[in-house]
């Protein structure tokens, strides 16, 4: 993985010094609260409902054991012994004190981490496929591209005060696991007929109040043109994006209002005159960055493992192996998903002890690498099949072996009103209750892949629009109320969920979800037809009665 050189290191340290000074200037009155707010946000610091919240970037979701251990140390020393992994491959601490934040930042910098631009109206942490370097269908590892973009966008003089936040995601695979279509800019690594590498560029995707799928602006952008072309897009957005209404300020609205064609024309016009030399990166530099992401030295192993197959006689292990392993391009290896969704727990939370267990496992069994996924889980990307039984046993011990990756209890949930100042309703308790309802692993297996995603307000941090079942918490005349959508999907066939009907009360939600699932089980052609496929085939109508309160009809599972 990438290692800072002297330039990267110095910049992060200087940023901390600047932040300390900024806090001092807020206290002495040089900065108003409004000014300080925007500036601290650009350092990842929010003021939430109960306390400050510090959001740490995990660039493209990749972490080493040492970094994970440091995150645990920070949780113990300056927070409450846990952290929350988010849908944007970040980790959030919910209880830091402003006076401690500069010291927390120093500890992060000690392991080459930081919080720069994890909030604010600037280019945010660049996300990528969490199976980068693992998937057999990968054209190229997306992380060198993401790292290049990270560096280019860090403290960019021109693009640090945009109309609104700006999110970029990169995927290098034929199958999109980075949800690039719902990002301000989505980049798909593609090869042209001559085998040259470039990018398919989409602009204007996003969730929030006005969810939209990104529009293609270039089918093939040659690799060396990436940064100048991004500059042209950002410049058009910086100049023309709306600043009169924060809900219309994202680039998706500009693309929508201008029309894709006119937007592309402006970008191309700007691209024709922009000073490309200012962001020129030579091939040797690209290669230098890429070298850090070279795959670990995989052993030549047989595709099957005896130890693994022996362990699979244990039904619990077998269930885990069926749900939480992803095929690895190297024979005899697997990518192992550690679910942060134990039944009934807040999704995405990990205690400092669990973080240390994960750090140990990464160092011993996964080439010292961990990944944070946008479904709020952790991946050990390079585990030998031979080692899976031992890793699994350690996970069981740490309460981290829930076998539910991609299943109905693998719920994405934003923090909602239990932490978030912007929330209109809570989301975690809804997730917890649904998770308890589907706790039976056999039933869950029978239901198959199903993504439930919950947001505590229209900002959609829980990605509810792209949930096969989406749940949005609202405030209806002083009572928490939840809107259910069906049919959303984040990946290649990206689609936005449709509202099933009027909102329902919090205590009705879990039963309604159960009834929706029962309708699916009754209607699916066979076990191979997933929930989303059934919804696409039969439409919403058969599901509508499920919103009405009634006794749950348990399907024979």
């Amino acid at each position: 993985m990438y290692r800072y050189d002297e330039f990267d290191e110095r910049l992060v340290r200087e940023r901390i010094a600047q932040f300390r000074e900024m806090v001092r200037r807020r206290i002495d009155g040089s900065l108003t609260e409004e000014e300080f707010t925007l500036l601290r946000q650009m350092n990842g610091l929010y003021l939430q409902l109960h306390a400050y919240m510090l959001r740490v970037a995990i660039p493209y979701g990749t972490l080493s054991g040492r970094q994970m251990r440091q995150l645990a140390l920070i949780a113990d020393r300056y927070d409450r012994g846990y952290g929350h992994f988010t849908t944007r491959q970040n980790i959030q601490y919910n209880w830091p004190r402003l006076r401690d934040v500069p010291d927390m930042l120093e500890l992060l910098a000690d392991v080459e981490m930081q919080c720069i631009q994890t909030s604010g109206n600037c280019i945010r942490n660049v996300t990528a496929d969490h199976f980068a370097g693992v998937a057999a269908d990968e054209i190229e590892d997306p992380r060198p591209t993401a790292e290049l973009i990270r560096q280019w966008s860090t403290l960019h003089p021109e693009f640090s005060f945009l109309p609104r936040k700006f999110k970029i995601a990169v995927t290098g695979s034929a199958v999109d696991r980075a949800a690039v279509a719902v990002h301000d800019i989505g980049l798909r690594i593609v090869a042209d007929a001559k085998g040259r590498i470039g990018y398919r560029v989409t602009v204007g995707g996003g969730l929030g109040r006005t969810p939209m799928i990104g529009k293609p602006v270039r089918e093939f952008l040659p690799r060396e043109e990436l940064l100048p072309y991004l500059e042209a897009i950002l410049r058009v957005y910086n100049l023309e994006g709306r600043r009169d209404n924060k809900y219309k300020a994202r680039v998706k609205i500009l693309v929508h209002e201008l029309g894709t064609e006119a937007f592309v024309a402006r970008v191309e016009e700007e691209y024709a005159r922009i000073d490309r030399g200012a962001v020129e990166v030579d091939a040797a530099e690209v290669a230098r960055i890429a070298a850090y992401f070279a795959p670990p030295a995989f052993e030549a192993l047989p595709a099957r493992s005896e130890a693994f197959e022996k362990a699979a006689r244990d039904p619990d292990f077998a269930r885990f192996a069926r749900t939480n392993l992803f095929p690895h391009k190297a024979p005899g290896y697997t990518a192992l998903t550690v679910s942060l969704k134990p039944i009934g727990a807040p999704p995405g939370d990990a205690t400092s002890d669990q973080m240390r267990v994960l750090a140990d496992l990464a160092e011993r069994f996964s080439a010292d690498e961990l990944r944070v996924t946008h479904v709020q889980n952790i991946v050990l990307p390079h585990v030998r099949l031979d080692d899976v039984p031992e890793v699994w046993a350690a996970l069981v011990e740490a309460g981290l072996a829930t076998a539910n990756s991609g299943l109905v209890t693998d719920i994405i949930s934003c923090p909602g009103m239990d932490y978030c100042k912007l929330a209109t309703a809570r989301s975690i308790p809804i997730a917890q209750e649904i998770s308890r309802r589907f706790a039976d692993p056999e039933r869950e297996r029978a239901i198959g892949p199903l993504g439930i995603k919950i947001s505590g307000c229209i900002n959609a941090c829980g990605h509810h629009h792209v949930g096969a079942i989406g749940i949005l918490g609202l405030d209806k005349a002083g009572v928490e109320n939840y809107q259910i959508t069906l049919g959303g999907e984040p990946g290649d066939l990206a689609s936005l969920g449709e509202r099933l009907g009027p909102g329902i009360d919090a205590d009705e939600v879990p039963a309604a979800i159960e009834r929706i699932v029962d309708v699916y089980l009754a209607l699916r052609t066979d076990e191979a037809e997933t929930f989303i496929d059934t919804v696409r085939r039969v439409g919403l109508d058969p599901f509508k009665p499920a919103l009405q309160p009634q006794e749950p009809v348990r399907a024979a599972a």
């Binding site: 109960h50 209880w95 402003l98 975690i428 308790p429």
Partner: protein, 111 residues
């Protein structure tokens, strides 16, 4: 303060700048306990809170001050009307070990 004043009775709250803790205006300063808050039940009280708010609006020892409506229970204690403020006063409903509820043994948020 943007918009109109919420209905009486009112409490002024904010977050402590350096610690981030939820604090309430007592009439003389800021305190972490809602029971210490000055509850404005009339126009004069409301104006007093608005003046205190204006003073810290753009700076000072607290951040993001705002007024919210409470109901006085039979013992005279202020209970926020909206669930958002009830959660804010107690702490996360999913972690009773954190926030003011852990400190003061408040009864957990009833919603």
């Amino acid at each position: 303060m943007a918009g109109k004043r919420p209905a009486l009775p009112l409490v002024l709250s904010a977050s402590d700048l350096l610690d981030g803790d939820v604090v309430f205006h007592t009439g003389a300063g800021w305190d972490r306990s809602l029971s210490a808050a000055l509850v404005a039940t009339d126009e004069a009280g409301a104006q007093r809170l608005e003046a205190a708010l204006a003073e810290v609006e753009s700076g000072g020892p607290v951040a993001e001050p705002f007024l919210f409506t409470v109901t006085l229970d039979p013992s005279g204690a202020a209970v926020p009307n909206h669930y958002r403020e009830r959660i804010r006063v107690c702490g996360p409903t999913v972690r009773h070990d954190f926030g003011p509820q852990a400190r003061e043994e408040l009864s957990h948020v009833s919603l």
